[in-house]
Amino acid sequence: MIDRDMQAVGRDDYGNLPTALDDAQLRELARAIRVESVRMIHRARSSHLGSCLSMADIMAVLYGCIMRFRPADPTWADRDRLIVSKGHAAAATYATLAEAGFMPRKRLEEFGRDSSVFAGHVTHGVPGVEVSTGSLGHGLPIATGMALAARRSRAAWRVFAVLSDGELDEGSNWEAFMFAAHHGLDNLTAVIDYNGIQSLDTVEKTLRLEPLRAKLESFGWRVLDVDGHDVRALRQALDRATASTGRPTAVIARTIKGKGVRFMEGKVLWHYRPPDDAEMAAAVDELGAGE
């Protein structure tokens, strides 16, 4: 359905989306990413469904109306770069890239199969993936290096990194926060999927992040705080982020782990459990199967 909608608005010669999707189309894209994530993780009997559902809207907005890219030319020199640092949310990442036109949706069936390039953590080799992640705390430093390179070569492309909240426990992120601000990398945007849950418990009970906004501001970043499931709010924030002057921007996206499937929302269990047949059916039903 997404594919057809996108064709209806017409792609350019590169298969790129011509103009930003509107709010309804963004919501539809996010829904498709969620449904595909549920199906992939069910089929592969793998983990991290809650993490995927949490970031679906962020991914939809980035690919649906913020980033510049050419699906038929994934290494187009002027493309915006996205690093998915929470690499365990691989299903949602691959689903997004398929929906964005980097590969046929059918290829997502390779996820979890033997001899597949679709590893359970985001892996380069999958069309559209910039860098492999999976060990937390690696994405923002790499994104910062890319932003520095773009700055030094006076290139107009921009860099986005999607981080998770538990991931911010890693000191490497704070080293990058400090560096990016010091160098005034306003072509860098970090989106933090702030769902309040990590591997064993809540963020609050594991390592408190609050006051996160003040922390980031004190590191020299501009901070925008939004509802991470409101596509309009996300779009406005990311639009503002990319118009930044002199400072990198962090978008704190307030999310719910497992968002969209009520029995998964806010539960650590769905960081691990793949849905069984009945749970998959119920989840897809609740999300709405689309056409």
Binding site: A119, H121, S132, G134, S135, G166, E167, G171, L200
Partner: protein, 313 residues
Amino acid sequence: MRSAFIQTLEALADEDSRVCLIVGDLGYSVIERFAEAHPDQFVNAGVAEQNMIGLATGMALSGRIVFTYSIGNFATLRCLEQIRNDVCYHQANVKVVAVGGGLAYGSLGASHHATEDLAILRALPELTVVAPGDPVEARLATRALAEASGPAYLRLGKAGERVVHDDEPSFRIGKAITVRDGGDITLISTGSALPLTVDLAAHLARHGTSARVLSMHTISPLDKQAVIDAAVGTRLIVSLEEHSVVGGLGSAVAEVLAELPEPRARLRRIGLAHVFNRTVGSHEYLRSQHGFNLETVSEITDKLVEELNGVAR
């Protein structure tokens, strides 16, 4: 191995309040009972492995016996310098525990394949490196490491490994276990290669070759005497490890053999190819991609045995 480890650690923590567990935001459905029963001996360091090892060192230098727990490379490579400078150099009583050694997290991708850890950690001075071969060895190793003061790395598999030892073997750190005696050739195994190794020995026996099987659970310090005995007493040594062929058990054995006078047994290293897995799949699938299954390793050893017998004739 995971359950054997945590159950043993729970018992140790009951017996000795100095025994502590620090996890790096991992261990769901594994560590809960420990955490509830011993709240003062448990802490979750969060997703922050470098800090975790620093904390462990600080606690160890304050009289605790500290086990750190994470998976794959997060437990080791992510915090390697902390392990070297803080733990090893200070001889701090920290036991670094990793689950998912080798390719156990097959489909999760290269970030989760722990295939160089033995090589890297074996290079650190004063670090005892142990890779148990089955759940029985995992239990015995956990207890032995808690009782021996000083830095250690314990490399575990994941869950559901086959039990090889029907009877409890005598277990000493740094001393190989002779799982099966034999006079023609010697198979030396470490970690999760043990079930494959005993299967290989059974295959060889069916074809008239008597193979000694050593479980070299301790990679550092290596049981050199066991290697020397094998080199002198048998004509071929085959090392088996679910780890890169570069730098691990095979290399450790080669270092001993290379300095022995002739005549001595020749060596064949069997392990994982020195590459990243750019396609993934199940644990079984990935092992077979590396030729790390009975079919391929028995072909290799059959050929070597044939060559040996040819030379003898």
